[in-house]
């Protein structure tokens, strides 16, 4: 299982993938809104989205697991 973590603290602005979606390495899966900026969070590896841990509007801390891939 691979984990995609938040690069910085912020609010989840956009969730761009759904469970079961295939993603490629480098694909933006979530966009955070932090310090009034939109911060894209990219998949580091290819895989299938197993679970999405947060929804739009949730606050996340740096290092929190946002999405897991299998």
């Amino acid at each position: 299982m691979k984990e995609i973590t938040a690069s910085m603290a912020g609010t989840v602005w956009q969730v761009l993938v759904g469970e079961g979606d295939e993603v490629t390495a480098g694909q933006t899966v979530i966009v955070l809104e932090s310090m009034k900026m939109e911060i894209p969070v990219d998949a580091t590896d290819a895989g299938t989205v197993e679970s999405i841990k947060f929804a739009s509007g949730d606050f996340v801390n740096e290092g929190d697991v946002l999405v897991t891939l299998k």
């Binding site: 603290a9 912020g10 602005w13 932090s34 310090m35 009034k36 900026m37 911060i39 739009s56 740096e62």
Partner: protein
């Protein structure tokens, strides 16, 4: 008014405290765990810890803030900008608690916070609005139909958005159908309302806003314009007054429209009417900000007035200190927002400020929220300080700014100082020839 609570943080809290001190008004700061070492907490007469770092657990907790206000027996609450400043429910609860909210009435905040309602009001008042929809758009089909009539490109916006958040530019029908549902869903989650509207996208435009002030006796004046066209990702970076673009006749038309807009809602206290101005000088109402603006020092520099002092006097029920013909604009002022961010990608760069030495240069005002040793944390806006340069003319301001940024020492994190240094030497900026896509266009051409 003997004691004021400042429901904000950083530089703006400090700036409000300064005026309060001059007026012999006591101050109460509220702060989150992340901000406990910042200068504004020390500068206030009293300080109340209100919660954890994320804004939802501290600066947006209206209940906690109100509790602190009652416990510390304040007469007024100044909301600053951002955070709860445009939250009509907060303003209403303050009034119900018998405390003065230093700002417009809750009704006005709600009215202008609904962008669709604001557009309708301005159109009825005879203030030009951006061509677009007047009623909320029900679904994507209706959106496409209306966009064809308006003509692409269009801006798809959330009625409860604003300040550059919650809008998408759509070049064609495919873009619009792609973005409509997701934008609406996001607006619902983020702003609590999925009402959407479409405006024609005015290209090669400038963003020019007018400062207005109204009192409870029905007087409304303007304090001239600010040109805020230098932006990145719809967020302002440099603001100046006078606008290098406006002719004298266009300036008087825009400022008159701003006063008309403020009168249409019986505006009280400090507000800003934002316009988008096309390259041929047509101007359209964008939105009204019902609060003190980040860039208010630009206006203070050219008029020699203290807008926070005016806000407090108005909140006390006093008449405006000056009439329109007594408010003069002198010289030129430019404000630079110093951000903790990468100067090329514009991504935030939070961290500890190891060293911060402000050069001592005349005609430079520094409104800073931080000092050496403080940390810029990832929880809030990355602005470290505002640098406001004023002089008799624009050329002198540019010279002074170059000198300032050339000798500024800031270590420990990345800042946008290199961006300012390049910008101040670019021919188009020096000529005053720039539009809202200036920064994005130039970074695209350099990569």
């Amino acid at each position: 008014m003997k004691k004021i609570l400042i429901a904000n943080r950083g530089e703006i809290a400090l700036r409000i405290i300064q005026t309060c001190k001059e007026m012999n008004i006591g101050t109460v700061a509220v702060y989150s765990e992340a901000d406990k070492d910042l200068p504004f907490v020390k500068a206030a007469d009293e300080a109340v810890h209100i919660g954890e770092p994320p804004v939802a657990k501290s600066y947006l907790k209206s209940e906690e803030i109100l509790k602190a206000a009652i416990e510390h027996k304040v007469d007024g609450i100044h909301p600053g900008y951002g955070l709860l400043s445009e939250n009509d429910d907060f303003a209403k609860r303050i009034e119900e608690a018998g405390i003065t909210f230093i700002g417009p009435s809750p009704q006005t905040i709600e009215w202008m916070g609904d962008k669709i309602k604001a557009r309708k009001t301005m159109q009825q008042a005879g203030v030009p609005i951006v061509p677009g929809t007047i009623e909320p758009i029900e679904d994507v089909e209706e959106g496409i139909k209306l966009a064809e009539q308006i003509g692409y490109p269009v801006m798809l916006k959330a009625s409860s958005g604003g300040g550059g958040i919650g809008m998408v530019k759509c070049e064609n029908r495919d873009d619009l159908s792609k973005h409509f549902v997701s934008s609406q869903q996001r607006a619902k989650n983020y702003f609590g309302s999925g009402r959407m509207f479409i405006e024609k996208c005015i290209e090669n435009a400038r963003h020019i806003e007018v400062q207005v002030m109204g009192d409870t006796h029905g007087n409304i004046v303007h304090l001239y314009e600010r040109d805020c066209s230098v932006q990145r990702r719809n967020q302002k970076v440099v603001e100046e007054s006078p606008s290098p673009f406006l002719t004298e006749s266009l300036r008087s038309k825009i400022t008159a429209s701003a006063v008309k807009a403020a009168k249409a809602v019986n505006y009280v206290n400090a507000g800003t009417v934002e316009f988008v101005v096309s390259e041929n000088g047509d101007y359209y109402f964008l939105e009204m900000n019902t609060r003190l603006q980040v860039e208010h020092p630009v206006t203070e520099s050219i008029t020699g007035l203290d807008l926070v002092r005016w806000q407090i006097q108005i909140a006390k029920g006093e008449r405006l200190p000056l009439m329109q013909n007594e408010i003069l604009s002198n010289g030129h002022a430019v404000e630079f927002r110093l951000y903790a961010e990468d100067p090329v990608t514009f991504f935030p760069s939070p961290g500890k400020i190891e060293e911060l030495n402000w050069p001592e240069i005349t005609n430079v005002r520094i409104d800073s929220g931080y000092e050496s040793g403080n940390a810029v944390t990832p929880f809030y806006d990355p602005m470290i300080a505002k640098i406001i340069v004023s002089d008799s003319n624009r050329e002198e301001c540019i010279k002074t700014a170059l000198k300032f940024f050339g000798s500024l020492e800031i270590k420990g994190l990345k800042t946008n100082v290199p961006l300012f240094q390049r910008l101040l030497e670019e021919e188009d900026f020096v000529k005053g020839d720039y539009t809202t896509d200036y920064l994005s266009k130039r970074s695209a051409s350099k990569s």
